[in-house]
Symmetry: C2
Subunit: 438 residues, 2 copies
């Protein structure tokens, strides 16, 4: 399965992640050779522009513009896919596995959208498919879920798994500035893309959550089963109120096993400041796993970038190489359990933060409490404030309340009734909370 | 290597950890069989008292009082050592490996004291030796260091890896009570042993640090190379001062690669409250790894107990079983790099907290600063207080200062000079700090 001289790698793409992984393998070449028991040699790389200068040595590497040719070359033992996306990358990865080659990738979109096809093919051809770098950058989380925690029944995985949004939310918390201002700042610093949709609307986190949930619950899933909301509608007023109620805003990715169904959701969330996830700031990521018998474990680190993700990809390459050397034992079979039903958004169970503009008169809170009580929604916290600038002049007040855990359907029914009240002038914002009843 | 019916386990010891691991394997039997591709069957167990009732089913398990007999029995494929200590456990583990059996253990003392002998024997006989449960309870940390982070050069590992002392220190921080009072409370709650030496004097943490450092730096080490101090001398006055200076007391286990030498030390430490380790409270453990290229990653969870440690041991059993099924590929070779020199305590580089009783008169601080400056020790923070009850009546004050990073030798030389001053009545306590200059 490998040449006598070592184990030969074919890189697909030498952008940020590909160059990062190659640099990591070159940097610690001697120690890695010792650990694998064989030399790892990069022999081929497919790149779009072979003449472009790269921040890494290409000595001994034959460049090509044809990913499938590299993926299926006779002298390649392990294919390292760092192209991204689901067109060329998918075609090349499928071709590599069909040619009997193990694949390492950090491509979250590919795994989240095409897991079944990829896992089946890996199984059929008896090859490894490793993707530690697809979630949480350099944080080891895929391997712990596939290996170390594999004796556990996972109940819940909650993650801060998008660095861009966490950077923006951390900055909003600190500065009180608006989402738009801080998005521009993040773009200027290179922490957000020119088109930020993938990050700020939660697509990136949804891909990663799909992968975490497949591993945690050992079941096939795809990213379109994830309920998704972005962070654009969080205002400085919400930020300030969350703080005074003892919470921090985070874009959470939540996967919960509710027995009959799974909950899979990505949305902004108020997290109690005493929870370890509330302290995860800026571009850091963290994944919090609740499982039996282990209890609660958390993994924390930099969630993106050439170095952290390069570390994860290089770690996978070493592991797969070691498996090849040992005679081809592979990682665990992937997501091979029975398919599971996923809850609709109405069935989600959560607590909620609601901020509304009301007529400033006695009895409003009592009417509100009556409607919530009738709908079996129980209040955990209430705060009445002077509201936004201009509110006071109108003889109105702002009322903010946080509920105990209930279903989304019950909350929506309550809000429909509350909206019909004369005293309710406007429901200004609604967010889910996490861990209020913990 | 295994019977057609499955992979057969022999347990050595069915106390807290052994019973926890067996329960974890029984609880998720079906899912685990699917993941391994074969059934895991506990066939034998060595226990001291076969008639004692156990919190776990012993159906189909032949009990014995002879650990070596179980460890070498023909019908045992994997030996799960949960006896603890380094006499019987060592003898049985060596016998098992010599008989060609892979071993799973959570025995930190055994690995920390006899790693070389054990690793060599595992290598010689081509068997697995897995010990995830030996550090951090259920937190996956051994596997991430051996696998996921293996492309990295580790610079530093800092851990809170003893639950008993962390429980006591957290309670001291909250309540202001003394070490003795809270030790008694921890003993009453079962968080501390009747003889607490192993925990409160840092032996347990030193074993675990030895294991972490061997994996992180890929070099053979033994626990007697770890510099060690316990938590007994922390007073309520130190606790309160640390808080007002912005720190929390933690028993830290620190392994640093300083290039020429390694630093290996376990001692109480003032940690800035903004550092993620400062928020790790009660019986929780956390391990903070700084490495290149990954940056900083942290692992957090419950550090002890039947369930978390059972999860780690069961996870190792599954992994080793999977390796056996796949034809016997083993984990990475262990600590196979070149031996490294370890720094003496004088060579340690740290910042320091010093609390002293001084004559309350002008110019004392200037004299002090002069001595420190001459010894190249630079001050980061100073606090003058009224001191302990009775101090005020004597016209004395208490002076607390925190230094920037320096060597232990320089600090000791400075303190010797300061002790000789008429104005210095007493050096009340000295502790190392962590992360002051980060």
């Amino acid at each position: 399965m490998s040449s006598a001289d070592g184990i030969r790698l074919g890189f697909l793409g030498l952008g940020t992640v590909g160059a990062g992984a190659l640099a990591a393998l070159q940097e610690e070449h001697e120690a890695i050779t010792r650990r694998v028991g064989a030399e790892l040699i990069a022999v081929r790389a497919a790149v779009r522009r072979p003449d472009r200068p790269r921040p890494v040595s290409l000595d001994g590497i034959t460049l090509s513009t044809d990913p499938v040719a590299v993926a299926t070359a006779d002298d390649v033992d392990i294919v390292v896919e760092c192209i991204g996306g689901v067109t060329v990358a998918r075609e090349a990865v499928l071709a590599a596995m069909a040619a009997g080659k193990s694949v390492v990738t950090a491509n979250k979109e590919l795994i989240a959208k095409h897991s079944r096809e990829l896992f089946d093919l890996a199984d059929r051809h008896g090859v490894d498919l490793a993707f530690e770098g697809s979630v949480g950058g350099g944080i080891p989380i895929v391997q712990p879920l596939r290996h170390g925690l594999t004796a556990n029944r996972v109940k819940q995985v909650v993650g801060i798994i998008n660095g861009t949004t966490n950077y923006i939310l951390s900055a909003m918390t600190r500065s009180g500035e608006s989402f738009e201002q801080l998005l521009s700042e993040a773009q200027a610093k290179g922490y957000a893309e020119a088109d930020p949709t993938d990050d700020v609307d939660g697509h990136d986190a949804a891909y990663k959550l799909t992968i975490l949930a497949m591993l945690a619950f050992d079941t096939p899933l795809s990213e379109d089963q994830v309920y998704r909301e972005g962070i654009r509608r969080i205002t400085p007023a919400d930020m300030a109120l969350a703080r005074s109620l003892g919470y921090r805003f985070k874009l959470l990715a939540i996967a919960r096993d509710r027995g009959a169904k799974l909950e899979l959701r990505v949305h902004p969330c108020l997290v109690p400041e005493s929870h370890p996830l509330a302290a995860v700031n800026d571009v850091y990521n963290a994944i919090f796993v609740s499982a039996s018998p282990v209890g609660e474990v958390m993994f924390y680190g930099r969630g993106a970038g050439a170095d952290p993700t390069g570390s994860a990809v290089a770690g996978d390459v070493i592991q797969v190489a070691r498996n090849l050397r040992g005679g081809g034992v592979r990682g665990f079979p992937l997501a091979c359990g029975t398919p599971r039903a996923v809850a609709t958004v109405d069935e989600i169970e959560s607590s909620y933060y609601v901020r509304m503009k009301v007529v400033d008169q006695a009895g409003v809170l009592a009417v509100l409490a009556g409607i919530l009580g009738k709908n079996l929604v129980s209040i955990a916290q209430v705060l009445q404030t002077r509201g936004e600038p201009g509110d006071a002049a109108e003889q109105v007040a702002e009322l903010v309340w946080v509920t105990h855990e209930t279903t989304e359907a019950r909350l929506r029914r309550s809000l429909a009734e509350i909206n019909g009240l004369d005293a309710c002038l406007e429901v200004r914002n609604v967010f889910r909370c996490f861990g209020v009843d913990a």
